[in-house]
Amino acid sequence: MMKRRCRMRIRKKIKVWVGLLLFILMIGCLSRHKMVSIQQNHKKSQKVSIDQKVFQTPAGRKGKKISEKKEKEQDEIDLTVMSSTTVYAEVYNMMCTPEDYVGKHIKIEGSFDVYKDKKTGKRYFSCVVSDATACCFQGLEFELKGKYRYPDDYPKVNDTIRVEGTFETYQEDGENYCRLKDASLK
């Protein structure tokens, strides 16, 4: 009788631990599973929205203009009108998921910084933003349109600058980087 009770207790404990392990595995799988569907990617890549094809009447043409305006707004991200918390978060997201921002026109305001690669001698210019507590900093590299010479045509390090350009990704030495191309300083 005692042995039978012991066996039942052991079986119960085994069931509980197996259930726990399965639960942890489920959470692990959920955290890795990518939810971006192929259909969503296909919809994003389409430049002409389905709504625009339906708008033929005068009221519909107004709707088409509103739709085009919305598309323009979605292609432009103005970080200069956002709070420091959201600016930092948006730049952080740009670094984490750059594919969501490629081709978009970005406006950003922050501190100017420059980094010189000791091996290649190439200079990289960036606009640095900080979060609300000013303990975390994130920089967004930019490449000015036209011929500019450093340091004559660039601001001083830590000067506040406003940059706008088109977001792109590029590869260098096998690593992926992000920057604003054809940028202009204001």
Partner: protein, 279 residues
């Protein structure tokens, strides 16, 4: 103001933050009532520090997804803390304190000695105070949070009466056939999961506020367990939602702003409770 709010709400990361923030606040408030009544208010702090230590070790080991290490370690520590029984040499508060400071010190030591980050103090600060973690969520993390929140809410609804029994009188619950040990086991796992999620909203140091303040605020206004639980959930959701919006508009750290709103609401509830003749 409304135009600015509408502008921010267009951004996916703000939508994700609001969804996850509200769900985390809801889950933590539901279990917060039980924890406060069972004198386990500081377990949130203890487990969040354990999670911080596990995160540091995961970073040192180079794990791309630290949830693989953080969640199991936090769950095991939660089980050790909550399933210990009453007749132990080391009482609950001492055990929580011991585990909490050990994990925090060990985690920070590991991060310093085997540093893999370019900005260690920034990463530590973000993890401890949750300044922007909630605003940098991926879609997968949002889905995971939604699923876990549904599980927690369902657990609370389905086992409401058992939770009530075990919270107020464990011996009575045991006498009527409730499997108190199994209940503690499952509760430990759920608390650990909620703590790990809640760290994204308010950071490691402020997690206790999410658990304690909504429960305490509602206890000023209601006397029944049901009333306190529902009021706690409502207060927590409103505070989290408004805290996130205020931090986005004003450019303040998210975690501290949410806790600030919680404290403000507690003050208001305390005053209302006093006006209506409460303690």
């Amino acid at each position: 103001m409304m135009e600015k709010l509408a502008f921010y709400l267009q951004h996916p990361f703000v939508q994700y933050a609001l969804i996850v923030g509200v769900l985390i606040a809801l889950c933590s408030s539901l279990l917060g009532v039980t924890l406060v009544l069972k004198r386990f208010s500081f377990i949130g702090d203890g487990l969040s520090h354990v999670a911080f230590g596990a995160m540091s070790v995961a970073a040192v080991l180079g794990l791309t997804d630290n949830t693989v290490l953080v969640l199991p370690v936090t769950i095991i520590c939660a089980i050790l803390l909550l399933c210990r029984g009453q007749n132990t040499q080391m009482k609950g508060d001492a055990a929580i304190a011991m585990l909490s400071v050990t994990a925090l010190a060990f985690g920070y030591l590991c991060s310093n000695i085997f540093s893999t980050s370019a900005n260690l103090s920034g990463d530590v600060c973000t993890t401890l105070f949750g300044s922007i973690s909630i605003l940098t969520l991926r879609k997968e993390e949002v889905w995971m949070c939604m699923v876990l929140s549904v599980v927690v809410v369902l657990f609370f609804i389905l086992f409401y009466h058992k939770i009530f029994d075990v919270t107020f009188d464990e011996n009575f619950a045991r006498a009527v056939g409730t499997k108190v040990d199994a209940f503690h086991f499952v509760l430990s796992i759920i608390i650990a999961v909620i703590i790990v999620l809640a760290m994204k909203l308010v950071g490691s140091l402020l997690v206790s506020a999410l658990i304690i303040f909504p429960a305490l605020s509602s206890m000023r206004l209601f006397q029944s367990f049901k009333g306190v639980t529902i009021c706690s959930a409502v207060i927590s959701v409103i505070c989290a939602f408004s805290g996130i919006l205020i931090s986005i508009l004003a450019g303040t750290p998210v975690g501290a702003t949410v806790v600030g709103v919680d404290v403000l609401v507690f003050g208001v509830c305390w005053c209302l409770g006093r006006l209506h003749g409460g303690e």
